[in-house]
Symmetry: C2
Subunit: 151 residues, 2 copies
């Protein structure tokens, strides 16, 4: 149960939606159906989808025949969008207990670390922004073909 699996969950859901919504007269995309692909509980899916909805990445319709859809084409949803849609959780956390402010190092180090961490996080974000949900879907389906061919 690794800490930050939420990113994987969110990307999986969006990729699944992109795959499932390609046709028109399809079954409705419910949290139950998504849960089957992800192999988890529908509530877990809804919790995640709620965050993606707040970020404007997906849309929901309520009531009977209600369900989910991408708010815009998969080509226009980058993994950076997904990352930012999730509740902020710093890559590097600060000290569990605040350092001793009487110490020359302890006094200023959190400020310095904050700057370093911000730069590193920005580099990571730039990398994430280069990939879209459409890319993930394409590569995932391609991997499927390769594996099938290898058998």
């Amino acid at each position: 149960m690794s800490a930050n699996s939420r990113m994987s969950l969110a990307v999986h859901i969006l990729t699944w939606l992109a795959y499932d919504r390609r046709g028109t007269d399809k079954e409705v995309a419910t949290s139950q159906r998504i849960a089957t692909s992800v192999n988890t509980n529908p509530v877990v899916i809804r919790r995640c989808l709620g965050q993606l909805k707040d970020a404007g990445l997906v849309e929901v319709t309520h009531g009977r025949n209600g369900g989910w859809n991408l708010a815009r084409p998969a080509e226009k949803i980058s993994l950076l969008n997904v990352y930012q849609a999730l509740p902020e959780e710093p890559i590097f956390g600060m000290h569990a207990s605040d350092p001793n402010a009487e110490c020359y190092v302890g006094f200023g180090i959190q400020h310095t670390l904050g700057q370093v961490y911000q730069e590193a996080t920005e580099a990571l974000c730039r990398s994430l922004s280069a990939t879209t949900v459409a890319d993930v879907l394409r590569d995932t389906l391609a991997f499927h073909s390769v594996s099938a061919g290898a058998r």
Copy 2:
């Protein structure tokens, strides 16, 4: 108690060592003294120092008057070295439960995600490699002066 505060702890320790070891006829750098700056328990410090020692970033002497020292100048210890010295913990975890392999998306997505995550992590590492412990020490002490001056 944020997840990955180990990086902050390790950098703090190395920075403290760099600061403390500048003179020659100083007091010995014990885990107890470091713990006072970090404001935690000496065992926590020793656990971390043990990993830094395994990575060749610090040296230890045992017995009476034993203690710690940087294994090489602070200018030659990058934050990437520190990051890699810590037990590997991926930035992004995979799904808590394996996806449904029967699903076209579920089958290949972990492979795709793995590639994306690796690229992003490499970008982060490149950023970390640009800063050294000596840089952190300099900026931290500078912050101290600025704050003092502002009072």
